[in-house]
Symmetry: none
DNA sequence: CATGAATGAGGTTTCATTCAT
DNA sequence: GATGAATGAAACCTCATTCAT
């Protein structure tokens, strides 16, 4: 019998995945608190109780959904970004791929926009909850490289990360939650231009 | 009997305000859904039922909290910003004051960080919910002025707004929700520098 | 200063009456439990608290509404009925006036239909609550007279009362609550005919 | 697994029934509005939430209680009545069985007495609420037959129905709600006598 | 493993009643 | 007397979670 990392059979892998997808879908649309486990179960075509065979409780479902969604995408993005030659090109590619990811997966974009912000109480309850830590860590690495290569002036890397991540987050949130009222492509280029220009080495 | 705008007596104004403050406090700390009306009432030193004399329901409490919080602060910020001579200075001042506001009112910063983004369902239910519309509209005006005055190159104003608002939002969220792990002052200046440099007219 | 039975000034009499009328109106339409004191007060153009100056509580408002409504009408009916010469005519007239009363005051008919039936618990709580006792007592008297005069055969008076009262109650309830789907005039005559015929002395 | 009409397992049928019985019991004793779902649940030996697995809400519980109580009994009555030869006998038997039913099931009698009449608002909210429609429809049929067979003179059938149903309703209400202060057996016979005599063909 | 019926704690909201003005 | 803002108890209903099948 084929068994996986977590000790699950292939069929169970699929079931687990279905539950996570259903959770993301529903969290994105209705928000965490307005999503009932019964909704997720129905969407995933399993019984309510089955959800609890794969996840301890509703909170964990949220946490795992984030974790695994980020991990999966980060890997794909890394592979692509690392093909670029220069630091500045890698940063640009990263920016582009990030936007692309969310444009092509509106559900994920919505999910992130709505669920990323949890209350301090939630962070206290789950200190390990830090969904895009690895994501930001990778971005930090890219920025540092670009600075070291001299293509970006020696600015505060944290500041740059905040600008990039914050802007993407905000743009995508507005775009996905409010109803895509503007062209993402145009604004994306303009933003990249401002940032690139603003971080260019001064003479 | 002294009566106010909404037709409330002076004492009632105070009570209404106390409820709003309590709501912001609690929403910021525990999140909207983990806040019970009883919490808000207790914090505001009124009976549970009293909350419903001033607000139709819990949702409206959230909406009004945002609305009035933004409105009140925007006015103060405008007054200050308009004292500046040049467009670029106004933009800078706006940025600074915005950060300052939230630095000095961590509760409000947290509240915004946690509750600003609602689910599509919420937006559908309350189409009028657009708490920082006037805020962004003012920012748009500032950007346009700066461009017209030639101190900022003719970039896409929307892009600039997204960068500014998104960055501030993200920085403050990280800073307030995660526990103020970095110096806001330093990062603020670096960010302003990047943005200013990135929007400077090219030769 | 003009003072009344209950020690009330003329203006207060009017206010008390307005509250009772409003109560009947609202009880009839929405039922006792779905009527809020605030509804009654608003309808009567008084403050909520004022209701409690005239009635101890909501229950008493219901009880008094019944009592006084019945008393007032019974008096008018008696005056009219007593003009009739024979027992059987008096019975007929009574029947007619009873129907007339409710036909001309649909609110009262509805009120009675909906609120007459209270739970055993209610009757236990208010043993004195017996809204149409005097009404039935008067009817009993009429029946007895008719029997004594020989125009009605010596039947069980109680049975006759039940038939008359029950039928009227049911007819009016159906008629008023369900939406007056049939002609009250025709059915009234048919009913009176059956009853008169059924109670006629046998040869 | 044994499954029933509504798609319920045998055990669930029993549970559903227990809830209905408990509801009737409690509605009869305390009235609909003074009955808490918790009362019903406790009486039925289930958890509060379980009630909502079988009925959408409290209103539906009332409606279904009526519907099914009437349906069940009507069937039994029909079976018995249809054994009679003549129309007039069927009418008599119907009357008797109707009275019997309620005499032997005081809870049901009380329930009906207290809850049959709802407010116009209730009828508007649930237009399909017409608990004894089939009951009256059957009675109409019996009356028509009796008229056609010539044993009852050609009177207004509706009038006769009103008399019969109204009288029974009133008698049973008085008898059950007020505390059974008179002999139902005697009065029943006297009433039947009056009605039969009143509807007899005239020469 | 999977199911889904059952549980029961908990929160929003209503509204009769009170009482300071 | 009259007002109506304030109170707070109480109840419907939801839904995360469990566990017998």
């Amino acid at each position: 019998m084929q068994r996986n990392l977590r000790g699950l059979k292939t069929k169970q892998i699929a079931k687990r995945r279905a539950i996570l997808e259903a959770a993301i879908e529903s969290f994105a649309q209705k928000g965490f608190h307005n999503t009932r486990i019964a909704d997720v179960a129905q969407q995933a075509q399993v019984a309510d109780g089955t959800v609890y065979l794969y996840f301890q409780n509703k909170d964990e479902l949220l946490i795992k959904a984030f974790e695994e969604m980020f991990d999966a995408n980060l890997q794909r993005i890394r592979d692509e970004v690392d093909k670029q030659e220069t630091g500045i090109d890698r940063l640009n590619r990263f920016f582009e791929l990030h936007v692309e990811l969310f444009t092509e997966n509106p559900r994920i974009a919505q999910f992130m926009a709505v669920e990323l912000r949890q209350s301090p109480e939630f962070y206290n309850k789950y200190p390990e909850y830090s969904p895009f830590k690895s994501y930001m860590s990778y971005m930090r690495q890219l920025c540092d490289q670009a600075v070291n290569e001299g293509e970006v002036r020696p600015i505060n890397t944290e500041a740059l990360i905040m600008i990039i991540f914050g802007t993407i987050d905000f743009v995508l949130t507005e775009w996905s939650v409010k109803g895509r009222v503007f062209s993402l492509g145009i604004i994306k280029n303009d933003i990249m231009d401002i940032i690139r220009f603003g971080t260019r080495p001064r003479d």
